[in-house]
Symmetry: C2
Subunit: 305 residues, 2 copies
């Protein structure tokens, strides 16, 4: 102590990085070397003690023990630190540059399902609407961002939580495939269906992600949102969430997914026996071969909690 | 792209950090804010995609699922990235500055046990010595680093893996408490016992830590070592490992715990019916109220794999 030298062994991090063997893929080398450097810098910056580090290890192991097909606590811990939202931004920008459609698949998250049938225009995805739910007619038009031309045959895949905060696969009291639907645009590029107005809900609070929120003196709530994936051949896919402009927690989403352009307005609907509110949501798609980006692609957040 | 602006939202990380509530402890705020900043910087630096991030999440969850009282895979993943060795260095330096004995307890690791009795000088801790093991007499003297005075009543707690690479609690074929002992120095500050010459062994390779090593094109071996804790009232405790100078893997320990000062030499022993090799290991302890450090304290690595 007291000497002019560095506080900790200045060669240690490079020694760890140099242990990487020659057969490692260049990408693994890049990602893990950078991770090692940042984690070591962090530990030195805060003088991380062995006790504190072990608390973190225990939380990681706890996350793994709690995770299964219905719940991903490792993902949720990242979400609480903004990491999913950030890698979504990075992935979208990369996809927009490279038109690399395949990289979009991972961000579908735990509540998306592949196995549901296409429903006819005007169907209701709320199979057992709770009494506190507000039925909504959601509709819109899918167009080409470059030409403005209507896109027929586009698929709109939508899913949302019920008013109790659970998606159907988390909740034994909801019917299979409740609040989940796939629609195809007609010859005018139009789609429409009944759903419910989304409501805020807390992310699971009984595991390490909840513990982390508690430690950080933060609440677990997400603002009201609907998940969407829009696909049409020859165009860049869009995976996003849209947020109710009247919802609480727009400014302090527990997983940091809200962006201004994703905020939408539910307005009164007259003369409809099913719904008293409506939501118009138009989607502009970017052609795969263009440098242009779809409105949503350029701005979307696609976190899946 | 192509504009002069930043590639990714420059306000995002601060937004996440600012979500921290007013009731967070100052230390949690410091540690998690810094972690958030470093993880975000890492993701942006390597343009981390959602797919790659999800692979990492899957490894974290896998680590948790594999961990139990006998195995800590989250810890092992950190070890492979040098993090345990680094926080040990940090913890030792902090403890040496503050004489904060309590901070040393966490680095005992999964293979240390509290529940074994003290053995008499000259006892053999190898209860069922395998045929490929080389018996060793280990002995030494514990002194005060300041005065050079012998320290009577110091406890030397020692544990080591068998030649098959397993500690006794990992291995149903070893007797309870095999290769584990606690000794007390006599009036001359001297201790001595029989053990076996340690041998290199691989850290567990069947989980995410092994997967990480594979991805990094690295081997899982640790050089031959013996674990030690030395305690005596009024002196800074020492937790360390000593490494056989003739062992393979001194330069490429899979968990980066080797330091030059921890390398020891096993030499021939004549006229002893139990052991043909001996190891002298003297320990200098730093008084709690001094700024001085014990030889080992200043240089020790105490990783526990």
């Amino acid at each position: 102590m007291g000497s002019a030298g560095p506080k900790y062994d200045p060669k240690f991090t490079q020694h760890v990085i140099d242990a990487t063997g020659p057969k490692t893929s260049p990408r693994i080398r890049e990602v893990i070397s950078s991770l090692t450097r940042h984690l070591h810098d962090w530990a030195r910056e805060v003088d991380l003690t062995a006790d504190e580090w072990m608390e973190g290890v225990n939380m990681i192991n706890w996350a793994g023990r709690m995770s299964d097909e219905k719940r991903n606590e490792g993902q949720l811990m990242c979400d609480v630190l903004g990491i999913e939202s950030l890698v979504d931004e990075i992935t979208y920008k990369k996809a927009a540059e490279a038109a690399d459609v395949a990289t979009q698949s991972a961000i579908l998250g735990p509540f998306f399902r592949h196995d549901h049938p296409t429903l006819p225009k005007g169907a209701n995805i709320s199979h057992d609407t709770p009494s506190d739910a507000e039925p909504v007619y959601m509709y819109g038009r899918v167009t080409c961002a470059k030409t403005g031309k209507a896109l027929a045959g586009a698929t709109i895949d939508v899913w949302q939580a019920s008013t109790n905060g659970y998606y159907e696969q988390q909740d034994p009291n909801q019917k299979d495939l409740n609040l989940r639907g796939k629609f195809v645009t007609d010859e005018n590029g139009e789609y429409g269906f009944y759903c419910i107005r989304p409501t805020p809900y807390p992310i699971p609070f009984d595991g390490p992600a909840g513990k982390l929120l508690q430690l950080l003196d933060r609440h677990p709530y997400r603002p009201a949102h609907i998940h969407l994936i829009v696909l049409v051949e020859g165009f860049k896919p869009i995976t996003t969430q849209i947020f109710d402009k009247d919802s609480k927690y727009l400014d302090d989403d527990s997983v940091f997914a809200v962006k201004d352009s994703l905020v939408v307005e539910f307005v009164p609907l007259e003369g409809d026996s099913t719904a008293k509110k409506q939501l118009q949501y138009d989607v502009r798609m970017a052609p795969l071969d263009s440098k242009a980006q779809g409105t949503e692609l350029a701005t979307s957040g696609s976190i899946n909690a």
